[in-house]
Amino acid sequence: MSELTRDQIRDLMGEVMKAQGKVLPSDDSADLREIGFRSLDFSELALRVEDEIGDELNFDAPGLRQIAKVGDVLDFIEQLQSA
């Protein structure tokens, strides 16, 4: 299966947040702590992306610790897909 586009990843991120009664802002510079997107939410998003592309996206935790904004999440998943 092919890689997801940035917009498709954003849609999935929105779904992860919606399931918790939260809303994903449209602004890429929104702060993850402020919008309540935690590291296990990132895991859930990565697993949903894996489901869509039919491949595993394994990664170490240090990269994850650099993620602070919505745009960072999308960048990270895009990079993982193309790695």
């Binding site: 895991s43 990565a46 996206l57 394994n58 990664f59 170490d60 935790a61 240090p62 610790r65």
Partner: protein, 248 residues
Amino acid sequence: MSDPTHVPPSKVVLVSGGSRGLGLAIVTDLIDSGVKVAAFARTVTPELTALAEKYPDQVHVGPVDINDEKAGQAFVKEVEGKLGPIDGIVNNAAVGQDSLHVHTSAEQIANIIQTNLTAPLVLTRFVLRRMMAKGLKGRIVNVTSICAQRGYPGLVAYSATKGGMDAATRSMARELGGRVLANAVAPGFFASEMSAVLGQTQLDQIVRRTPTGHLTEPEEVVPVVRMLLLENTNINGQVIVIDGAAGI
């Protein structure tokens, strides 16, 4: 040797992963204590080479991957030829982990278990067989971790291997019937290449939760390893935690 109920101090000690970090500190300390030391790692560092050059009759080093069983056995025989029969082993070599279990590939999990649990058990078995065949007594020190007893995110497979080594330590002590003293040291987090992946926030958090107010240092683990290898104690089958009470 005359006392049949005591295990004498080790005279020739094999240290796995002696090239840097805690392993190198253990090697240096044992040399200072007058013990003959053999050390290996996949890459022999300049520090280890310098020790071997400075103490040619007391130290033997070589590049060995602990997962290469044959290379490990050849190294043991080489050491015996040069320094004499091995009667002490410090299982220190290990690889770390910093990835959530769900994002760690099956292959990575297998590699951690192979390096940190299977390989030291196989190497210890080989050394023990040679020790016992010669009628020697000896000592085993396994370097495990506080992670075997307390939960830490990102360290699931690693913790499992350290818990496995703690459990093996106890069973070895029973099985070896007092001919070999088997113990483990379980340090808390200390600064090294292995722990370099931890973020500053995590390190600060560990220090905050440690009653002694600082991360464990290799220099604080070394005397305990030395005691277990050289002192006349009846300590056997124990896991000694060295973490400033961070884990209690």
